[in-house]
Amino acid sequence: MERSKETLLDMYEKMYKIRLFEDNAVKLFNQGLVRGPMHVYTGEEAVAVGACSNLNNDDLITSTHRGHGHCIAKGGLVDKMAAELLAKGTGYCKGKGGSMHIADPDIGILGANGIVGAGLPIAAGSALSSKMRGTDQVTICFFGDGATNEGSFHEALNMAAIWDLPVVFVCENNLYGLTGPADEMLSVKDVASRAASYDIPGVIVDGNDVLDVYETVGEAVKRARNGGGPSLIEAKTYRIKGHFVGDPCVYRDEEEVEKWKKRCPIKNYKNYLIETAGFTSEELAEIEEKVENEVEAAVKFAKESPDPELEVVFEDVFSK
């Protein structure tokens, strides 16, 4: 697997950007500037970044209610994202979508999605489309452990498998649905073992290790691109924050959270970059600063952007 210096640093930048973006999103939420339920990706950054680092600009992803990380990993712009969270006219969706519906189809982001499991059939369809149009595009479909109990998971994987569609199903097993523990709600220990139902590869990766994710998803992407069909990859990870911002988290204990905090994917990756890959702290600090400026500017942009005009409410119901 090729691991260019550029890729390695880009992954660090993206992970760091996600973390910072989410910290700011929480801040904005707590300031009362974000509406509705917001779900942050803190602690799971390695999954989106490791996975999407295998994609080209015209490759595609489908995302979830917890979509900020996927969006940034696929190249989404934090200013438009922040503006969307603040419901501004300059946001990705003109302020009409919010956290759960951020999308940028121009760079293959087919949207966050408020309905658990709904992205899977859409991803199968986008892969079908690539195949029918004769491109070499691949679609990565993100979803959670909880989503694997939805019927749509099953239907989509079967369909993708029988048609050998170029799609990689990446399950973020963060141990919980909303509050339901995966080990009570799923009839299997490992989501990956559900691949057997579709006769496709099912692989477990350490979702807190960006390189493990990168390489394993990379194999699956290559396979898909070469006509080898879909794969199911289970990334074992953890959401450090509650399910939604404001979640009292009565269903889990602090100890567990603390344990996982120690396994911070960003800190660990930073150590790796410095200790094993030979980067300097300065190089990384430079990236961090760049990202900090970028996110800060994004928040500023969002705050200063105007609300959409009232007439926007009537736009976009229909095309043309």
């Binding site: 974000v34 509406r35 509705g36 339920p37 969307e84 419901a87 501004k88 969706c93 302020g95 009409k96 979508g97 919010g98 759960m100 519906h101 999605n113 408020g114 309905i115 658990v116 499991g117 909880g146 989503a147 109990n149 939805e150 019927g151 749509s152 649905g177 909303l178 509050t179 339901g180 009570e184 709600m185 799923l186 009565v250 269903y251 609300d307 959409p308 009232l310 926007v312 409410v313 009537f314 119901v317």
Partner: protein, 327 residues
């Protein structure tokens, strides 16, 4: 009398019925430790345990389908469907199975199944978490459809729903859980199919329910003060069965009909109520065209100003009252 919230009123109804009948139980996503997404079942896990306060996987077809299977074999499940928007992933079990089973089987089963869910906007939850879909279920013979507004109604209607031997769509509104009102300590039930005249009046008949009822009452009050118009405000309480008579009688008296609902206007329950009046003898007493105050025909936008604009509000209701009186 003591004053409690809709949320607590609903919880009391569940507790009383669970205590009364051991076959009543609750199932749904995140209803146990977490107490449900709007807290209606908070605390029940400690009281009744995991079997009767049963967390389900994120599998809405299985949730409703299994509740149905339990209902036709001796249990009386209350299935909580977190958002009415998620009926879309359980629609077959609601519409083709639960609603039709008794009829298809020639009367051979009772289906004592309550589906508690909540809809509506007002919280910036955007297009997939803010719908008002009661009109769909009204259009399905075999389902009862209940939409309470006040704590008193919420409690009395939920108890009736739990004792009903038919599938009941019990539709709450996310912004209405905090509504406060008087609720007696003593047990009571509210029968289905009897509209409640929330305010008497002789000039205009206004039908409203759920989240918008207080706004309708407020508008009525203001218009009486400001313009001397006496608005009769009627809450149907249940859309199926529907108390036609009370509304026909009222319109026959006032000659003017306003229907207020949060759902998008096109195809909402306001159309059905309007049609019922239009085809009844009240037609002969009509003095003005229908006014519908309803959601705009758009998906719910996230932005607060846009969302508010898309939802009916006090001003819209006042406007409609003036219009129907040609002011």
């Amino acid at each position: 009398m003591r004053t409690i919230t809709v949320k607590d009123a609903l919880k009391e109804a569940i507790i009383e019925e669970m205590d009364r009948d051991e076959n009543v139980f609750v199932m749904g996503e995140d209803i146990a430790e977490h107490g449900g997404i709007y807290g209606v079942t908070a605390g029940l896990l400690d009281k009744y345990g995991k079997e009767r306060i049963r967390n389900t996987p994120i599998s809405e077809s299985a949730l409703i389908g299994s509740a149905l299977g339990a209902a036709i074999t001796g249990m009386r499940p209350i299935a909580e469907l977190m958002y009415i928007d998620f009926t879309t992933v359980a629609m077959d079990q609601i519409v083709n199975q639960a609603a039709k089973m008794r009829y298809m089987f020639g009367g051979k089963v009772d289906v004592p199944l309550v589906i508690r869910t909540q809809g509506g906007g007002g919280r910036g939850s955007a297009a997939q978490h803010s719908q008002s879909l009661e009109a769909w279920f009204m259009h399905v013979p075999g389902l009862k459809v209940v939409m309470p507004s006040t704590p008193y109604d919420a409690k009395g209607l939920l108890k009736t729903a739990i004792r009903d031997d038919n599938p009941v769509m019990f539709i709450e509104q996310k912004m209405a859980y905090g509504f406060k009102g008087e609720v007696p300590e003593e047990e009571y039930l509210i029968p289905f199919g009897q509209a409640d005249i929330k305010r008497e009046g002789s000039d205009v008949t206004l039908v409203a329910n759920s989240y918008l009822l207080p706004k309708a009452l407020k508008a009525a009050e203001m218009m009486e003060k400001e313009e001397g118009i006496k608005v009769e405000v009627i809450d149907p309480l249940t859309l199926v069965p529907f108390d036609e008579e009370t509304i026909i009688k009222s319109v026959s008296k006032t000659g003017r009909l306003i229907v207020v609902h949060e759902a998008v206007k096109r195809g909402g329950f306001g159309a059905e109520i309007a049609a019922k009046i239009f085809e009844s003898d009240a037609f002969y007493y009509l003095d003005a065209p229908l006014q519908r105050v309803a959601g705009l025909d758009v998906p719910t936008p996230y932005n607060e100003k846009l969302e508010n604009f898309a939802m009916p509000d006090l001003e819209d209701i006042k406007e409609a009252i003036k219009k129907t009186c040609y002011l």
